[in-house]
Symmetry: C2
């Protein structure tokens, strides 16, 4: 009977593997404490029994589960498990793990084993791994492919990063438009394995130009004497290899596709895009975006070495220090006012912080709107006006609240008024900056998710300090 709760099954497998690894560690440390023949005995026990058990446990696992397990292990245990995998399974696992872990695994595999693992993969899979494999090994693997696969591989690698061409596969089912459904069905039956996630036959004419898409289910329900060209859906969605993968992902989602044909500029069928690859792409994209927004350079393996992690965060730290230093120079301009009224130093971070937070809310909405193509030129004017009004409203309410707090703390009506005005004004700055910065970055051809937040916080910090201390220097002395 099918087992429900696959997530629990995965969790169980992980626990079992962990237990075996733990036993392995204990046995090994015991062996180390012994000497001579006793040590040899214990060591052989470790290797023959425990590793064999681990090996068997791993062999029964789905490559995707193995990938997940490898990703949650620290590097020494990760290498131990990885080396227990047999070549065919190891190849599947390489395709499933995240890029950071994939690079780690490839890096810790010797050349012969890597060659053995890679030589079992097909051209589609190799093209996916190509960028991570040392060029010398890759060349050797290429040598083992037949000429057709080799030329396919070379064309795949040439497509730009993040394009449909890089994600498409060459395994697909085709039929000529003149064939009857019975003939098509017979051909499929007598053929080899059906390709992965094949839900449709792509119907082409004599020149290999795509004429339509024939869902496999049609072969079951339509009259077998019908021609493929008549039964196929002529208005099906197709992609070109130069299209951006994220656009294709949106179309997969909108039209609930399982697979779709890829055609070249003249409409000739050249490949197939499947929903699993697209889902994977979407997930990775949104993960990377979340990390980028926090100032990490895309992928970082949780268990990456300290040195790699430290460097990964340097760029951002450096940028942050520069912007923080610039913002602090704004305060420096007003040191004499602060010297006269120290309360200003206490209150100024509040003005900066509230601007930063509100502005980042607007930025988050804008980035999402831009990513989903929901922001049009006429919409922009509308949004600007809306965000300004929201800030005005919030500024009046919370500015008054903060003004009263300042009044209560320092018994100065003038200070309260300056505080209220500064909060209101900085919220307006946040609304304008929060709307404008993502738009500006996009117009400059940059990803608004990367950098919007830094630019915004820099503006709201500096302007917050400037407005508050500026008002104070005019009205409070």
């Amino acid at each position: 009977m099918p087992t429900p709760k696959p997530q629990e099954r995965l969790h169980e497998s992980l626990q079992q593997v962990k237990a075996l690894l733990e036993r392995h560690r204990v046995l090994e440390s015991m062996a180390h404490r012994q000497e001579g023949p006793k040590r040899d005995l214990l060591e052989s026990l470790v290797h023959r029994q425990n590793l064999a058990e681990l090996h068997n446990r791993l062999k029964a696992l789905h490559p995707a589960d193995l990938a997940s397990i490898l990703e949650s292990l620290p590097s020494d245990e990760r290498a131990l498990v990885w080396n227990q995998l047999e070549a065919p399974q190891a190849g599947e696992v390489l395709l499933e793990v995240s890029p950071a872990v994939r690079d780690f695994l490839i890096g810790s595999t010797d050349r012969d084993r890597l060659l053995a693992v890679l030589s079992l993969l097909d051209a589609d899979d190799l093209s996916y791994l190509a960028e991570a494999v040392p060029p010398a090994v890759l060349e050797q693997v290429y040598g083992l492919l037949d000429a057709k696969d080799r030329s396919w591989l070379e064309s795949m690698v040439a497509y730009p990063e993040g394009s449909v061409g890089q994600l498409m596969s060459k395994e697909l089912l085709t039929a000529r438009e003149g064939q009857t459904l019975a003939e098509v069905a017979e051909e499929i039956r007598s053929g080899q394995d059906l390709p992965h996630l094949a839900d449709a036959v792509f119907v082409v004419d004599a020149r290999n130009v795509l004429r339509g898409v024939l869902p496999l289910r049609q072969l079951l329900i339509r009259d077998p004497s019908l021609r493929a060209g008549e039964a196929a859906l002529a208005d099906a969605v197709a992609f070109t290899p130069d299209e951006r993968a994220r656009q294709a992902a949106k179309a997969f989602e909108r039209y609930d596709l399982v697979s779709a044909p890829v055609v070249d500029g003249r409409g000739k069928l050249i490949g197939r895009l499947t929903v699993d690859v697209v889902m994977d792409f979407i997930r990775r994209q949104s993960e990377i975006e979340a990390l980028i927004r926090a100032g990490l350079s895309g992928e970082e393996d949780l268990f990456a070495p300290v040195w790699t992690s430290a460097r990964n965060r340097w760029v951002w730290l450096a940028i942050n220090l520069v912007t923080a230093l610039l913002a602090s120079r704004v305060i420096g301009m007003f040191e004499d006012v602060i010297g006269q009224l120290v309360a200003l130093a206490t209150l100024m971070p509040i003005v900066a912080s509230i601007g930063g937070n509100t502005g980042n809310q607007t930025v988050a909405l804008m980035i999402r709107g831009l990513a989903l193509d929901r922001i049009t030129p006429t919409g922009v004017k509308h949004l600007f006006r809306k965000e300004l009004t929201v800030s005005l409203l919030n500024g009046l309410v919370w500015g008054t609240a903060m003004g009263l707090t300042a009044l209560a703390l320092y018994r100065s009506a003038a200070l309260g008024l300056v505080m209220a005005a500064a909060v209101l004004l900085n919220l307006l700055v946040a609304a304008v900056t929060g709307t404008a910065v993502p738009l500006l970055l996009q117009r400059l051809g940059r990803d608004p998710a990367q950098g919007s937040s830094v630019l915004l916080t820099f503006t709201t910090d500096s302007m917050g300090f400037f407005i508050f201390l500026g008002l104070a220097s005019v009205f409070l002395r």
Copy 2:
């Protein structure tokens, strides 16, 4: 021939609809400026010609494209387009738009039209919309369903938010285990429409207990005299309705599923989960998380009314003000030191800011690790140590840099040393807090994506001020 570049097609449709809406606005404002019979003439022109054209243009669009168009229109134009849709199309569109826009559309539809639209939907679709429809209307629609559909609907609505039960559909293909593949194929052929994204027949025994999953393609390639029970995959993945949808989504991704059976506690087949629903769930989840991290309460329609938007952001603003106020009270404790050395006021935001940024990097990594189940109890110790080491390394490098900057600005070696020490210590605080806070929130049964960042920034701000000003008060006077 199939049209490539679906994204461009969508963009074109949007432009055409926008042009028609623009013309509508111009014609209407012209009509308003006229009087008497001329006005009537112009108004009839507007309605007969332009709206008819709009109507026709809309009729040809895919519901998903229409949903996307509606989402990128301001509210007045959105209502105009929505009212042009015919009932069957309007129903499909309601299923495709985001929750915020869906609520807007339902709110701007009169009762009769809503009833007409909803009465065309099936039980699965109704259960999806149930929470958004006014109870009185819902009850009337329920009255139109047959008893079986009604009881299905009632059971669906009872499953908890975010569970598999809420996402599953009741449309599925079944076969008895004793049937031959030929019989199964014949039944499918003579049946009605195949359900949406049906890639497999679920094989059950006489008690409706799931025995296996038979991919449709098997019907094409296997021997027709084989029994369904023999041809079916017995180890296929199945779900239970109480499982969390995000766990199911991970399984769909890991095992590249198109559809999967849902069974109750005794293994009886009760529904089916499909990849489109799951993909939609993943995307919405990651969108909502990005907004939540920025302090917005999940869904906010870009074109929501000002009042709704302002309130959506109040909770966060209030929390932010309270934490900023608390952090500023830390500064208040040291006002006499600042009075003696105003440079402290200028430098202190740098210490706070660098802690906040570094800590948020750690938080982003932790949230992702927790979401992907990659953080295990033994892994936590490892991570703590790693993040501390990274912070120590970065603290030494950048603390020295900042100390030298302070020295250069204010010609005081003591101030430079205090600055360097404060940066280093606050980075260590950031590492500990950034690792601990998401773990703590998860252990308390809360979503770490929600709140981690506020708590972290509050800690690094207060501690940054406290460490820097505290060190200054000890060593600088």
